[in-house]
């Protein structure tokens, strides 16, 4: 201990204190402050970059989710539209069919009615014709038959015969 105290040099202590103070001040000004500031700003920069990358990733994920939703919705919409269209088409075809059927039926009915009436009138006309014709023929035959007495008698005879047979 005595040697230690003997070795303790007050002058050296003072010199060391002075050098250390000056060194700390100089180093702070010219080295530590700029170095620590630069390190800090670099680390902040890295942290910011990492944060923004993370944000971008999240945003991207959100965007992708949105897109997927949109796609799904669009698909559902298309599906429903197609379905609607199909139904509409079927209905239209159905409607058209029934309408056509109805129209056809009426047309058929009209045609049949027309045919019937035409037939009737044709028949009536035919009947008239036939009656006239028969009268004409009968008139002609009678005239011919009655022009000769014998014949008239013969006729009366045949007719009487017929009447007898009846």
């Amino acid at each position: 201990m005595e040697t230690l105290l003997n070795d303790f040099s007050v002058g050296l202590f003072v010199m060391q204190a002075v050098i250390l103070i000056i060194l700390i001040l100089l180093m702070r000004k010219f080295a530590w402050k700029p170095i620590l500031d630069a390190l800090q700003s670099r680390e902040d920069g890295i942290q910011n970059a990492l944060d923004s990358a993370e944000n971008a990733k999240l945003e991207m994920q959100n965007l992708q989710a949105d897109n997927a939703n949109l796609l799904k919705e669009a698909r559902a919409e298309r599906e429903s539209m197609l379905k609607e269209a199909r139904e509409l088409k079927n209905k239209m075809i159905e409607d058209a069919k029934t309408e056509a059927q109805a129209q056809a039926n009426t047309m058929i009915a009209q045609a049949q009615a027309a045919i019937e009436s035409e037939k009737k009138s044709a028949m009536a006309e035919l009947k008239g014709h036939v009656a006239g014709l028969s009268l004409d023929i009968a008139e002609k035959v009678v005239r011919q038959e009655l022009s000769n007495k014998d014949k008239q008698l013969e006729l009366v005879e045949s007719m009487l015969n017929d009447a007898k047979l009846n």
Partner: protein
């Protein structure tokens, strides 16, 4: 081939642990007589561990010339400030060379500068080899340690301001030396300061912590080079560092810290004054003392062991032969040197770590319970 000078240089570095026997007390080395006895080696180590006034590189034994460069001596004597170069002492460390500056007579004895009392012309020693008619002066010399500190400070300024300039130029990734320094700065910030002081308050103390960490580390590493600095093994230096830490944490103590130190809540009132005394002694004396002694003792011991192991080459020569002792010394010294590289970092780390721990204790704000 190893030149003769470097052999001498190695021999000069050589010192011992096993210095039990004494071969008389020769302070002055005779020319042609290398440092090779246990006693001389012991003295050499002791001399190395102390601060010195000139930058000694090696001694050429045959001619007895010292190769060193002088450093300025600045002393405050009873007659005011005196400055001269340390070469004025002619490498004398035994108080026999007297430097006269005006009315002041100065001698250097065991790396300390003494001023002779008025009228005295030579140093008289008592039986413990302490000078009787001389007293120590306030010594602000640029000693080897001060030179080392200036060198370390310069290295730090150059290296880290280069790193800082790199950032200013807009490179967010450092180039050159900055690539090594940046992770160290981040290490001190993230693994020493932040966990101990807290995310919110660490920034204010970074200047001190970073400076102290690199200052101690660089000086510890400089101490491992053959130039032979032993700055962090100077008790004045470690004391100064520890006192800085103490001043910082005592002056930045929060209200909570002082409340808990001086009037600890949650313990019986009778015990509170006793606790206050214990806590105060702990913070004011014991913690700084442990800091200063830990660093000082570790670095001194490291230097002592490395030098002693190198000295085995000479002290064990007779028992193991030249090859055996050299080999043993080489292997052991290499092994310890590798450990010392680790210790150099470890001590800087521990000092900074404990400093930030104490600062953290002082600035902590407790949740009110």
């Amino acid at each position: 081939m190893v030149s003769k000078k470097s052999i001498n240089f190695i021999a000069i570095l050589v010192l011992t642990l096993f210095s039990v026997s004494s071969y008389g007390n020769s302070d002055k080395q005779e020319p042609g007589n290398p440092v090779n006895t246990a006693q001389e080696i012991k003295e050499y180590i002791a001399h190395h561990l102390k601060d010195s006034h000139d930058f000694h590189l090696f001694t050429h034994n045959e001619s007895g010339t010292h190769i060193s460069f002088p450093l300025p001596v600045i002393v405050w004597t009873s007659n005011g400030l005196k400055t001269f170069m340390s070469s004025a002492f002619h490498h004398d460390d035994s108080g026999s060379v007297i430097v006269e500056k005006g009315d002041t007579r100065l001698v250097k004895l065991h790396s300390k500068i003494y001023e002779l009392d008025a009228g005295a012309t030579t140093v008289a020693f008592d039986e413990h080899h302490h000078p009787e008619n001389a007293h120590k002066v306030l010594d602000f010399s640029i000693t080897k340690s001060v030179f080392g500190m200036l060198l370390a400070g310069l290295l730090m300024l150059l290296g880290f301001s280069a790193l800082a300039r790199g950032y200013k130029k807009g490179h967010s990734v450092p180039k050159g030396i900055g690539r090594i320094l940046e992770p160290l700065v981040i290490y001190v910030r993230d693994d020493i300061a932040k966990p101990n002081i807290g995310e919110k308050k660490y920034r204010k103390f970074m200047g001190f912590l970073l400076t102290v960490f690199f200052f101690i580390w660089i000086l510890n590493l400089l101490g491992l080079t053959p130039i032979g600095f032993n700055v962090t093994g100077q008790i004045a230096v470690t004391a100064c560092l520890a006192i800085f830490t103490a001043v910082i944490y005592l002056f930045s103590g929060s209200k909570d810290f002082w409340k808990h130190t001086l009037w600890m809540p949650g313990v019986p009132v009778v015990l509170r004054p006793i606790l206050a005394v214990i806590e105060l002694i702990g913070f004011v004396l014991i913690k700084p003392f442990s800091l200063l002694v830990r660093l000082f003792a570790n670095m001194t011991a490291g230097h002592f062991v490395v030098m002693s192991l190198i000295a085995l080459m000479i002290t064990m020569k007779e028992s193991f032969g030249v090859v055996g002792s050299t080999g043993m010394s080489l292997v052991l010294a290499l092994f310890i040197s590798v450990i010392e590289i680790l210790v150099a970092f470890l001590q800087a780390f521990i000092f900074t770590m404990l400093s930030s721990l104490f600062i953290g204790m002082a600035v902590e704000e407790h949740d009110h319970h």
